[in-house]
Symmetry: C2
Subunit: 108 residues, 2 copies
DNA sequence: GTTATTCATCGTACATCGACGATAAACGAT
DNA sequence: ATCGTTTATCGTCGATGTACGATGAATAAC
């Protein structure tokens, strides 16, 4: 019911719509897009650096980061003082693939 | 501030992050993904047909359709009795392009 | 030990979402 | 004219999102 067969080149990859929708939701805020983009430029960031970069309270940034981490798009490792956030590039690539597959099926 | 320069092949296409985030938001619900997919299969649909297809109240479907229309992904023309909903395939293609551009910039 | 820094989490306040039923308008059919 | 169908919109209710300040824990520096 929540799966869609997609005529893709990658054989038999059905798309799980709730999962895909969750991915979209994680990206549905400009601040998170900016954060993700910022993370992608550097290799790793601590929360503080992002707070300094954007004009947001530290708690707000922490929340946005959590959303990205929960969505699996960002890696998180608590380090000594600063925590280490890193784009999970494979996950982003995977999401891009899924999004592309889904959207191209909608404009063939 | 909300624009990101992306090293894309398509020259000079800066991405407007609030706009992109709005696109993501429109797709951030499984029901809307299913509706969009359904619309893409048929050429055009009335609201009723979608109501019959999915187990949702008519008002709910109408709301979801409105979101898709407001996001510019679906065309809307009120016809005699039934209204006519149609995927705007160019808009979807455009969004796919923007998403791809943004996401690939995040996993280079 | 004390202090400063960094961070996650909690609580709060407000806005928005998502579902539904009810309703009214438009229209075809009788 | 009346009835049934289709649809958009309104109101409501609970859940979720978004922002912030406050707080406490961990740790580096002194």
């Amino acid at each position: 019911m929540n799966n869609v067969d997609i005529p893709s080149k990658t054989a038999g990859a059905a798309t799980d719509l709730p999962v895909l929708a969750a991915g979209f939701a994680a990206l549905a805020h400009p601040a998170r897009l900016r954060i993700l983009c910022h993370l992608a430029r550097r290799d790793a960031c601590c929360c503080r650096e992002i707070v300094d970069t954007f004009e947001l309270a530290q708690s707000t940034v922490s929340q946005h980061l959590k959303v990205l981490v929960d969505a699996g798009l960002v890696h998180y490792r608590p380090e000594n003082r600063r925590s280490r956030y890193m784009v999970d590039r494979e996950a982003v690539a995977r999401l891009e693939e899924q999004v592309s597959t889904f959207l191209s099926c909608c404009h063939v």
